[in-house]
């Protein structure tokens, strides 16, 4: 297994694909730092967790859709970067070997079949983790120079948790891509399927489908507060089927702790006069952890399900030369 792991990793690091992803990492960090530079220094808002704001700041006037700003670091991470990275690292794991005629040669060697798929997954995960950590570290480093405020211990904890969450999230996309690469014989089919799922969950599901279902199941025509709350609650639950949304929600709580009172899980229907009454104290780390724990485990279990299905399919698959 070590031999395959090493070979896969060497492949990733030497490949053009990895280079492209790396350039993407640099571009994202550069853009984030630019926005940080423009907004954080001028901002005089609450002083809590300034360092984390390096990751959540969004450029002023940037287009927003349903409260999701595409240009802040975590959102971009959630919607584009991590899914694409996971898919790019996994989509040809098995189908690539198959179409190049390598698979039957590889499997006729005295190695267990599961070692092949596990080593490939782990190698991809390693490469993915490396890139996530790199981008967070680059932003932290330059950001520190930029704002001159060192991170508090809690901020560091939160960042580490965010990195773990991001890796889990990436692992899900890679698991999905690996699954498709075992199910489909052709590399292009596998890639298109993964990208299709990504588009579906990344754009259509949260923005169009979930609200539509919520509206039809819990119409707000009566205009009463209960109806609106019910509609929003339902919409939120439906949205949580999307891994993108799970990650977005969890990372939001981790990096932008909501004030006590507007608890996640409860619907953030906070009327403006209520806001005035709320104490702007962010949720403590322990409480945050409690909140994101279900998200973390959901993502993990989604990953495991995807990988397990791919694993089982691969173990039972006929290995023909063509």
């Amino acid at each position: 297994m070590r031999a395959i792991f090493r070979k896969e990793l060497a492949d990733y690091f030497g490949s053009f694909r990895f280079l492209v992803l790396l350039v993407l990492v640099l571009l994202i960090t550069a853009a984030t730092l630019y926005f940080d530079y423009k907004s954080i220094r001028t901002s005089t808002a609450d002083t809590e967790f300034i360092f984390l704001r390096l990751f959540t700041t969004q450029p002023e006037g940037a287009p927003q859709t349903e409260g999701i700003n595409l240009f802040s670091f975590i959102n971009f991470f959630a919607l584009f970067f991590i899914p694409i990275m996971g898919i790019a690292l996994g989509f040809d794991a098995i189908s690539g070997e198959r179409s190049s005629g390598n698979l039957s040669r590889l499997l006729s060697q005295p190695i267990y079949r599961d070692n092949v798929i596990i080593a490939k997954f782990l190698a991809g995960l390693f490469a993915l983790s490396l890139m996530v950590i790199t981008s967070v570290l680059i932003i932290s480093g330059y950001g520190l120079q930029l704002i001159g405020v060192p991170p508090s211990l809690e901020e560091i904890y939160r960042l580490v948790l965010f990195v773990v969450l991001a890796i889990f999230y990436g692992a899900f996309w890679m698991g999905l891509a690996v699954l498709f690469s075992t199910v489909f014989k052709r590399v292009s089919t596998s890639l298109m399927s993964s990208l299709g799922i990504w588009l579906f969950f990344g754009l259509f599901y949260v923005l169009l489908i979930a609200p539509a279902i919520a509206n039809s199941l819990a119409p707000t025509a009566s205009g009463t507060l209960e109806a609106v709350v019910h509609n929003l609650e339902l919409g939120l639950s439906i949205k949580r089927f999307s891994p993108n949304f799970l990650f977005l929600e969890a990372s939001g709580v981790l990096l932008q702790p909501p004030p006590v009172g507007s608890l996640l899980g409860a619907v953030p229907v906070v009327t403006s006069d209520l806001i005035n009454w709320m104490i702007p104290a962010p949720l403590s780390l322990g409480q945050t952890l409690l909140l994101v724990w279900p998200h973390l485990t959901s993502l993990l279990s989604l990953t495991i399900v995807c990988f397990a299905v791919g694993y089982v399919v691969f173990m039972r698959q006929e290995i023909r030369a063509t």
């Binding site: 070979k7 040669r105 060697q109 005295p110 190695i111 030369a321």
Partner: protein, 312 residues
């Protein structure tokens, strides 16, 4: 000729979607020989090979390869058996040497040992000069040669090659066949599947012909040739300057003649025994100049066609 049996199958059966691909196959292959697995497309050759390696599970029946059951102990079989698939592929971005390195590593061959082996094998298959070229730039024939080196790197007791000469130029075919023919001397049994009969005839000691998943015939090449001959037909080809219906009729009346076929000035005669002298006499007596007469020797082609047609 009491040789150790290295591969044995017992009622090996496999079906895909209800269609039986390999049907109660009973095969026995002796150690240290070159065995040719023949058969038309879709006869189940590749499926049989995959089952021997434990890459595909048989629906019923069992196989023993080098004393192991490939379904239950695939790793033990794969340690001693090498396999080259029909469409062999490599990591195109890596060099020939690096590709073999990986396989050597998977077989737990030490680095020093593998480097020696790789150099020796690459030279043996005629790829010594391109050892450090990316495999992606290789032609199909070169990949095929690399595939053979790839199989031999683990010094297998059994080398299974699916169409090893497909895509090779005539010189490459000769080199490859010579290399394969020399393997039994170093203790490697070779199983090769092929469509090219003359190749099989040249290097194989025994053959098995598959048709529709069934073993139509198996045995040593000499034995099969004799069988095919004594089975009846001597085929005598006669060419004359011209042909008359009378002549054909007279030949047909000759005792022991079973069939006469005329094509232009060419006669194709089937007989129970070698009737060349008698036929020559008749032709000469009828005042027709005899141009040529020869008896047809059975080649593997005939064995193959005969059994293949029977199989249908």
């Amino acid at each position: 000729m009491d040789k150790q049996v290295i591969v044995e199958t017992k009622d090996l059966t496999k079906s895909y979607d209800g269609a039986v691909v390999v049907d109660h196959l009973n095969l026995s292959i002796a150690e240290n020989e070159v065995f040719g697995l023949l058969g038309p497309n879709g006869a189940g050759k590749t499926t049989t090979i995959l089952m021997l390696l434990g890459l595909t599970e048989p629906a019923s029946g069992a196989a023993r390869v080098c004393g192991f059951n490939p379904t239950k102990e695939p790793l033990k079989v794969k340690r001693v058996a090498g396999y080259m698939p029909e469409k062999v592929g490599f990591y195109d971005n890596l060099t020939a040497r690096k590709n073999l390195d990986i396989i050597a590593e998977l077989n737990n061959i030490s680095y020093d040992e593998s480097q020696r082996q790789i150099d020796r094998l690459l030279n043996a298959v005629g790829l010594g000069k391109v050892a450090d070229m990316a495999v992606g730039k290789f032609s199909r024939g070169m990949k095929q040669r690399l595939g053979i080196a790839d199989v031999l790197i683990k010094k297998p007791k059994l080398a299974i090659l699916d169409e090893p000469t497909a895509g090779l130029d005539p010189e490459g075919i000769n080199q490859t066949l010579d290399l394969l023919a020399s393997l039994p001397q170093t203790g490697t049994t070779v199983i090769m599947s092929s469509h090219r009969l003359y190749e099989v005839q040249r290097i194989c000691h025994s053959i098995g012909i598959l048709s529709k998943g069934k073993l139509v015939v198996a045995g040593s090449l000499d034995q099969l040739g004799r069988d095919a001959l004594t089975d009846g037909r001597y085929r005598i080809e006669v060419e004359t300057a011209r042909l008359t219906p009378d002549l054909i009729e007279t030949i047909k009346k000759l005792s022991g003649i079973t069939h006469v076929e005329a094509d232009g000035n060419h006669l194709s005669i089937s007989a129970d025994s070698d009737l060349r002298t008698e036929i020559a006499k008749i032709v000469v007596q009828s005042d027709i100049p005899l141009v040529e007469m020869k008896i047809h020797e059975f080649s593997l082609d005939d064995i193959y066609m005969k059994y293949f047609q029977e199989g249908q």
